[in-house]
């Protein structure tokens, strides 16, 4: 049977490959965020129970069933806990499935983690990159195959991201997982990811797409109903990319966007969309709630409580989605509603109502308790007459009789809530003091300070907890008589976030409010982005996007070129250096040679104009002087007739708009340019031809130059000889 199993695992392998590389995976057992504070101060996120099973088990089970043979579990904060958990579990002794832990105390981001993995030099082939809080039942075979095929054709295809369709709520602009709306541009034929934007809250309907995206891709579909599953199939190059770019921290924000923006290396990211399979990452309390419900509703089959039982107690599924482990003592009068999970050894008293909740092992629930939509972990005692709504209650909490937990409350480990005490909505309560350097600003989620706290706590976990217990068992604490624990204050800015990311359903009034603003937007503001998307093409989205309207960036380009030119004139820089500088501007603004020619030309004309002059003749002399000196800078861009036409058009524009002084001199300068070989005869002729059908108003200069054109046309043959 060993052989049987192996062959099953090998299905995913490429048969053409001569040297079989076992499929590897890197599992990040640390999310490098603080969204699960205060719970994660005492226990790592991957060990938090999800429907009574620690999260990491879901991820490992999936990896194993997907044919992965070697997993590197990267532990950072609370690494000791993760490692000792894995050692106790059966994961380290599986046949054909090795789990290796990699420990690093000073990594503060996913980027650091991957750099550590790279240094270890353990990844030899394609690998699956996943974080330990991902629940999935997808089959990797297809995605892997696609990845390998692409890799064979194009060695720059380094990563395949797994995405899934899931509509975000139109009103509150977030998915059911509590993450922000995600915009992606995908080439529908090749499935290449072209654009990735997980916007923060400012979803006001504009989206900046690089013009070249539209130019380079014959078709492009823009999605905002996709959910990023955070399952990536990566080639080994990804690790070295992280090492090369040591500033990459966040997988998406830095790495993915970095690759998409930086076309120098030409690395490409592709997507694989799953349809019937399930995949989701638990990123915040909202997604904890959502994913738990999905598991109970069996979307994650076979990762459901009655199939996946770790430990020795079996859970049975009864009618209406009630999962019941063994040895539950329940009063006759207790009501257990549908879609509820009850762990083994739990006692439930009279007239207690439990609806839509998950109850862990060994809990004691008194009489007349109402529990609705809660996640009650292990060994919790809830005394009579309590009321709990949409709360997460961690191990060892004691809730004294008559206490009430309002929606969105998080009670961390061993907190005691005094009798008749009402815990206000969205409060986070922990035995530990709120860290002062706390910044829940997610932009700084990988800041050094936070993770240092994490590791400190890791070491002196128990001591702090016991100390706190001693000092705060005063009769009148923050949590009523005999209560223990600190209510964490919410920081600024997170007020807005608390209802977004909480376990509690979004309050009705918030939803109404959001719907109202959405409607207002629709009525007043055309820029609201409907699903089908009205796109404003934008020429680029470089970093200074935010403070300048990038539609005008040709204008900025010209300004830059002009400034460069003036500097060259004043500082007497060599022509070749000037050309080099303009070339670099050309690249950074993504311009064509014609644009440069136009810009340089107008810069020269402006310089000529700015030089003091008394009459038109002096001006003409100025122009001639400038051109004799700097002609080369201009002609280096005039390789083709198109660029020359561009120069003439530019000249026309200057005469019309910015510098009317040139208007009378148009023909003379043009003739001068012709003589200087800046523009050729063909260019002038085709310029004329181009404007033939234009409005009369546009033809002013053509008419002015008619003489010259006539002369050019009449003497084409002798042209060569007649030149001065």
């Amino acid at each position: 049977m060993g052989a049987q199993k192996k062959s099953g695992a090998r299905v995913s392998e490429d048969p053409d490959e001569l040297v079989r590389v076992p499929l590897q995976a890197v599992l990040l057992a640390d999310s490098f965020t603080t969204k699960f504070r205060p719970i994660t101060l005492e226990r790592p996120k991957v060990l938090l129970p999800l429907v009574n099973v620690p999260m990491i088990n879901y991820t490992l089970t999936w990896l194993e069933s997907a044919g992965v043979e070697e997993v590197f579990v990267f532990c950072c904060s609370h690494s000791k806990q993760v490692i000792s958990y894995l050692e106790k579990s059966e994961w380290l002794s599986q046949p054909n499935f090795t789990v290796t832990t990699v420990e690093s105390q000073n990594s503060v981001s996913a980027g650091d983690a991957l750099r550590v993995i790279y240094e270890r030099n353990v990844i030899h082939g394609d690998f699956v990159l996943i974080s330990g809080d991902t629940v999935s039942n997808m089959s990797l075979t297809q995605a892997l195959l696609e990845h390998k095929e692409r890799k064979k054709k194009d060695s720059n295809a380094v990563m395949t991201m797994v995405i899934k369709r899931s509509k975000p709520n139109p009103a509150i602009h977030q998915s059911r997982l509590g993450t922000d709306e995600l915009f992606m541009a995908i080439d529908p034929n090749t499935k290449q990811l072209l654009y990735y934007e997980d916007r923060a809250d400012q979803s006001k309907g504009t989206l900046h797409l690089d013009k070249s995206l539209l130019a380079d891709n014959p078709s492009l579909s823009l999605h905002h109903d996709k959910q990023d599953c955070y399952i990536d199939i990566c080639s080994p190059e990804v690790l070295s990319l992280f090492t090369d770019n040591f500033d990459y921290q966040h997988l998406r924000r830095h790495f993915v966007k970095g690759l998409l923006l930086d076309d120098i290396m030409g690395y490409k990211i592709f997507v694989h969309e799953i349809h019937s399979d399930y995949a989701a990452r638990i990123d915040n309390f909202r997604s904890y709630d959502t994913v738990s419900k999905d598991i109970i509703h069996r979307w994650t089959y076979p990762l459901v409580p009655d199939v996946m039982n770790f430990g020795d107690t079996a859970t049975k599924l009864e009618r209406q989605g009630i999962y019941r482990a063994s040895e539950i003592s329940q009063s006759q009068s207790a009501v257990i509603g549908p879609f509820t999970v009850i762990g083994s050894g739990t006692k439930i008293g009279h007239n207690t109502k439990i609806l839509n909740s998950v109850i862990g092992e060994g809990c004691k629930i008194g009489s007349n308790v109402i529990i609705e939509g809660c996640y009650i972990w292990d060994n919790i005692s809830i005394e009579d007459g309590c009321k709990l709504q949409h709360a997460i209650v961690c191990d060892g909490v004691i809730i004294k009789s008559g206490a009430v937990l309002e929606p969105g409350v998080i009670l961390s480990f061993k907190v005691v809530v005094g009798p008749e005490f009402v815990v206000p909505p969205y409060s986070n309560v922990s035995l530990l003091q709120q860290p002062i350097e706390e910044d829940s600003d997610e932009e700084l989620e990988y800041a050094d300070s936070t993770s240092v706290i994490g590791s400190q706590v890791d070491k002196s976990d128990v001591e702090i907890a016991s100390k706190v217990l001693e000092t705060h068992f005063s009769p009148a604490s923050e949590l009523g008589m005999g209560g223990a624990g600190h209510v964490w204050s919410t920081c600024e800015g997170s007020h807005e976030e608390e209802w977004r990311h909480s376990v509690a359903p979004i309050p009705k009034d918030k939803v109404m409010e959001a719907i109202k603003t959405m409607k207002d937007d629709l009525e007043n503001d055309d820029s609201f982005l409907p699903p089908s998307g009205e796109l404003k093409p934008n020429s680029n989205y470089s970093d200074d996007d935010d403070h300048e309207d990038s539609r005008d960036d040709s204008y900025y380009f010209e300004k830059e070129v002009e400034a460069t030119f003036l500097r060259a004139v004043h500082e007497n820089i060599q022509e070749s250096h000037l050309i080099l500088e303009i070339n670099s501007l050309k690249l950074s603004y993504n311009k064509l040679a014609a644009d440069c020619a136009g810009a340089v030309f107008s810069a020269m004309m402006k310089y000529a104009l700015d030089t003091p002059h008394s009459s038109a003749d002096v001006l003409l002399q100025n122009v001639q002087a400038v051109f004799t000196k700097w002609k080369k800078a201009l002609t280096s861009y005039l390789t083709d007739i198109d660029e020359q036409i561009e120069v003439i058009l530019k000249f026309e524009e200057i005469c019309e708009e910015s510098a009317k002084e040139f208007a009378p001199l148009f023909t003379r300068i043009l003739h001068y340019l012709y003589n200087e070989d800046v523009v050729e005869e063909d260019a002038i002729l085709s310029w004329e031809a181009e404007l033939k059908d234009a409005d009369e108003a546009d033809k002013v200069f053509v008419k002015q130059a008619q003489k010259l054109i006539q002369w050019l046309k009449e003497a084409p043959e002798e042209d060569d000889d007649d030149e001065e």
Partner: protein, 415 residues
């Protein structure tokens, strides 16, 4: 026996992860596993059967409850236990009576032994000491099938000689084990060939120009219909597509490719079509002791429609699907709720399942199996022939020994 334990763990793992599914595959894998358990088990000189039974039972306990819906696992464990008991019995018979198999086969059609009470391990041992006991029906049947399918090989004669010889030498251990393994091999053979065995009977049941309705896809049904086709019967098949997995469409494709006139209908059109149908032929997941059938979802409805129009409802089932247990609360305990994504596209309905905005009121349930009560079944066709639902208990008495019905022997913690 560390090796065996590893194999067992492997198997448990596969079952648990739902990597082995389908009764035939499960049955075969179980039998192969038990064969290696037996072959690796050391047998002492005395009480060989008890030792083997205990070994098999120990493994059985671990693998039966892993996936309660795969009843085939339990069936095979019980079959193997029964084989061990029978072999032991025949060995004893041979030894004490000093007769070869030949004496036993004289009693082939001895009807009164049909319902001979099966023996417990203790009584087997007692019997071994006291008196000669003729082999029970199972051995007889196996002999019959042996001689019917495979021409009697010289080895069968050699067997009995060997037995007496080794017995004389007092080292019957290896021989006994060998016999048991042989019998298990036959069982594996039976499981593998059950489709052909069933298909052989096709012409007896499918007549010219009949219209046959089936639902979903079953390999047994496919082979059955093809066998009839090969025998130049011409008939039409109506296939209900079998939502939500739509295996019926796959079956229809196969049938049409083999030149059988096939019509595909929606499951909901079954009742409308049934009046034009002569016979319903379906596969089963398991057959319970009362003749009830655990079958792919939708078949209860088909069975009711067939009964309403007095159309025979025929169930094809290999003998490994025969389960000696009575169904208790089958709608809950003997079904499996699969992922709702087979019904609904998750992405399409994700906003309705969003509990955060209070609209999480959409629930989807996707049970995999139906329970068809015995009164709706007209005929079972197994590899040993056609049987009435009411005859199932007899078949079960043949295949299983009553002592093994509860595999868990020790007082267990909880249920």
């Amino acid at each position: 026996m560390p090796d065996v334990q590893a194999l067992v763990n492997d198997f448990v793992n596969l079952l648990k992860k739902r990597r082995i599914e389908g009764s035939q595959a499960t049955a075969k894998q179980t039998a192969v596993l038990l064969r290696s358990v037996i072959s690796q088990q050391r047998v002492p000189h005395t009480n060989q059967a008890t030792v083997l039974i205990n070994a098999v039972r120990a493994v059985g306990e671990q693998i039966i409850d892993v996936n309660p819906i795969e009843l085939a696992v339990g069936n095979i464990v019980r079959r193997v236990l029964h084989i061990i008991r029978e072999e032991d019995l025949s060995l004893v018979t041979d030894a004490v009576a000093g007769l070869g198999m030949f004496a036993g086969s004289d009693d082939e059609d001895d009807v009164e032994r049909d319902d001979y009470p099966a023996l417990s391990a203790a009584s087997v041992a007692a019997a071994a000491r006291s008196t000669s006991r003729p082999p029970s029906l199972q051995t007889l049947l196996e002999d019959v099938t042996d001689s019917a399918v495979v021409p009697p090989t010289p080895s069968s004669g050699g067997d009995s000689e060997g037995i007496s010889r080794t017995l004389e030498k007092g080292s019957s251990g290896r021989k006994f084990k060998h016999d048991v393994i042989e019998a298990v091999n036959e069982l594996i053979q039976d499981i593998t060939s059950c489709h052909e065995q069933i298909a052989e009977q096709a012409v007896e049941h499918i007549h010219q120009n009949e219209v046959i309705l089936t639902l979903g896809s079953s390999k047994t049904v496919l082979e059955f219909l093809c066998a009839a086709k090969e025998k130049k019967r011409s008939f039409k098949v109506v296939v209900a597509e079998g939502a939500p997995r739509y295996q019926g469409q796959v079956l229809a494709k196969e049938l049409a490719a083999r030149g059988i006139q096939t019509t595909v209908i929606a499951d909901s059109a079954t009742f409308a079509m049934i009046s034009q149908v002569n016979m319903v032929i379906v596969g089963a997941h398991a057959v319970m002791a009362n003749g009830g059938v655990i079958a792919p979802i939708g078949l209860h409805m088909v069975a009711l429609a067939a009964q309403r129009h007095a159309v025979p409802f025929v169930v094809l089932a290999g003998s490994h699907k025969l389960c000696p247990l009575y169904p208790h609360n089958p709608q809950v305990l003997l079904t499996e709720l699969r992922s709702p994504s087979e019904l609904l596209d998750f992405g399409e309905f994700s906003d309705l399942m969003d509990s955060a905005t209070g609209s999480g009121s959409l629930h989807v349930v996707n049970p995999a199996f139906d329970y068809v009560p015995p009164n709706l079944v007209s005929l079972f066709i197994t590899d040993t022939g056609g049987h009435n639902p009411s005859y199932m208990y007899r078949l079960i008495a043949d295949y299983y020994s009553a002592d093994d019905l509860v595999v868990k022997q020790r007082p267990t913690t909880g249920s």
